[in-house]
């Protein structure tokens, strides 16, 4: 019966295997957050969610991720422009350097920032006498977020720059536009899709950042504790429900971002 016309056993078999393999690896862990988090009733879930410390952690995560995203998108645009428009000595080395932070363990990144900006750090030592303290504040979290998400926006925007026809910009110049006008009216609209997806990617990554944040923020509840740190802290204190409530929010949030990325790509790139 293996050769019934139009029926290939390999098809349902391999699809089934794929789903089965993903079950314990992806589906079940995700599902358990939702099952466990709401098992004591929605009232308790809601109470855990609206605890002042929890709200603060979520807000802090959003704010620090937002500013890191703003910075990295602008930086990524600028870097992509420079690196795809001009050819110079050391260009490839620069590209590699920009991409490096993704490969560095986040704890190492946090540690490196501490060594530079910490009270006894290379730069921090010079700033401390003037009353500038960067580590263990929200600024430290933003710096850490910028560092670990550094190449994400750049990585999405640069290929679009590379494939963009140079003659569009030349046409704009011959029509009479300045460089800035050309960038604003011609280049930027073509990058719309890349900018939005680069921003979403950066933001999603920054919101979830843990390793570097725990080192540089000091993990002070209500002051420098972000959402992932909150989950970790509450779990350590045995308050599983409190940790779980925030975990659900972060999980839903990343679902949302990835659905936008997935479904809005076509819409963003429509000519």
């Amino acid at each position: 019966m293996r050769h019934v016309r139009g029926f290939d056993v390999a098809r349902p078999l391999s699809i089934g295997m794929l789903v089965f393999m993903m079950l314990p690896l992806v589906f079940l862990p995700l599902a358990s957050i939702f099952i466990f988090g709401t098992s004591n009733g929605l009232d308790k879930f809601w109470a855990a969610l609206t605890a002042p410390e929890a709200i603060f952690a979520l807000k802090l995560s959003m704010a620090t991720s937002f500013w890191a995203t703003v910075f990295n998108v602008i930086f990524g645009l600028f870097a992509a422009y420079v690196l795809s428009r001009y050819n110079f000595w050391g260009r490839n080395a620069l590209i590699v350097t920009i991409s490096l932070p993704t490969a560095i363990p986040t704890a190492v990144a946090g540690f490196a920032l501490l060594l530079l900006w910490g009270p006894y750090g290379t730069l921090g030592r010079l700033l401390a006498p003037h009353g500038f303290q960067i580590m263990f504040t929200a600024w430290a979290i933003i710096l850490a977020n910028i560092f670990v998400t550094f190449p994400l926006a750049f990585g999405v925007i640069k290929p679009v720059f590379d494939t963009m026809s140079h003659s569009l910009e030349e046409a704009s110049a011959t029509i009479g536009a300045t460089r800035w006008q050309t960038f604003w009216h011609v280049t930027l609209p073509s990058l719309r899709g890349a900018i939005v997806s680069g921003a979403l990617l950066t933001f999603a990554r920054a919101v979830g950042e843990f390793g570097s944040t725990i080192l540089v923020s000091g993990n002070l509840a209500g002051r420098t504790q972000t959402a992932p740190l909150y989950i970790f802290a509450k779990f350590n204190e045995g308050q599983i429900e409190a940790a779980n409530a925030i975990a659900i929010v972060l999980a839903l949030f990343s679902f949302l971002i990835f659905s936008v990325l997935f479904f809005a790509r076509d819409w963003l790139d429509v000519d």
Binding site: S165, S167, L168, H185
Partner: protein, 407 residues
Amino acid sequence: MAKAKETLIPRFEEPASSAPPSAAAASVVGISKRFGKASVLENISFDVGEGEVLVLLGASGSGKTTILRIIAGLEMPYTGKVILHGKDVTELPARERGVGVIFQSYALFPKMTVEKNIGYGLRIRKRKRKEIKETVNELLSLVQLEEHRKKYPSQLSGGQQQRVAIARTLAYKPEVLLFDEPFGALDTQTRVHLRREIRALLKKVNVPSIFITHDQEEALELGDRVAVLNVGHIEQIGTPFEIYNHPATEYVATFLGAANVLDAVIRQDFIEVGSAQIPAPTLDKAKFKPGDCVKIVFRPEDVSLHRGDLPRSTHPRLASAIIEEVAFVGAYERVRLIMEAGPDECKIDETSFLLTTETPDRKPSKSIIATRPKPEASTTQLHAGERVVVALTSFTVLPPQGSKGGN
């Protein structure tokens, strides 16, 4: 450009003049360009008159695109000047020159509608909204795209995109229009149709234009004048009539359609081609001296073929030849022949010149291509292997080898 040609029999009434119609609207003076050590342009000079269409015709690598980019300000010349309406713009950046470039890919802005594309030049010039709207409307009707005004470039056909590209440059009243192989991306039928349409449009708006192309048919049809480029220098500039019928160099002769080129020697009162002596009473004595090695050039349609002897009063006899092949190619018949007694290798007088670009062991060509119109082909049928007498209705003598480029 020196007109290096002699003809025995004028073909048609020759068009009036090859000079630009009036004062030059755009001039290129002594342009040269190098990329690193490689020289891509050598001393290029030409003028384009008001409302004139000049075509730069050349094979790829002839430097024609570089000339266009230098005029547009997208490339800096190594030496020389670009002058637009009397103003030296060589040092000005592209955006201050006011030239209109129609790129090969049209380079329409993909995220702007047709209207927005056409109005772009005026918007960045901060013109009043009302003025922009009026100009855009005028141009939309000029290029007949009124019903497509809200569409995006990707929704238009190639021809429509091209019209948008032209309208977009006309909006800011360009000093000169530059077309970079504008029909390259289109199929043959659309191409022929479009170039007629564009020529009509250009004559209507009366803006001086420079086209670049590698297609000789396109050049002859579009251009008021044509400049033939060969590896970085201009071989000849003239009306399509001049460059086709009186090519100045062998390169021009062979680049513009099929041409027969035979070695010949100048004698006192005639030109010697193999065993044939062709009378040439109007030959310029100053340019051609007896003993000079020259080339005669004639088009396939300038050859007349005869069975048996030539009637006395007809055109000069060139040779008797054996037919190699007779091929039917649509509108006419093409006959390939081998001369029985072809020209010998021209022995150069030691004193005549020293600079020769010719390879020494080159064998002079003996083959001739002739074409015959349908009626003649059907009344006198010819077959391969037959012996016929070849006569010339018209030919051009190229100046002695070595005195000018061309290979």
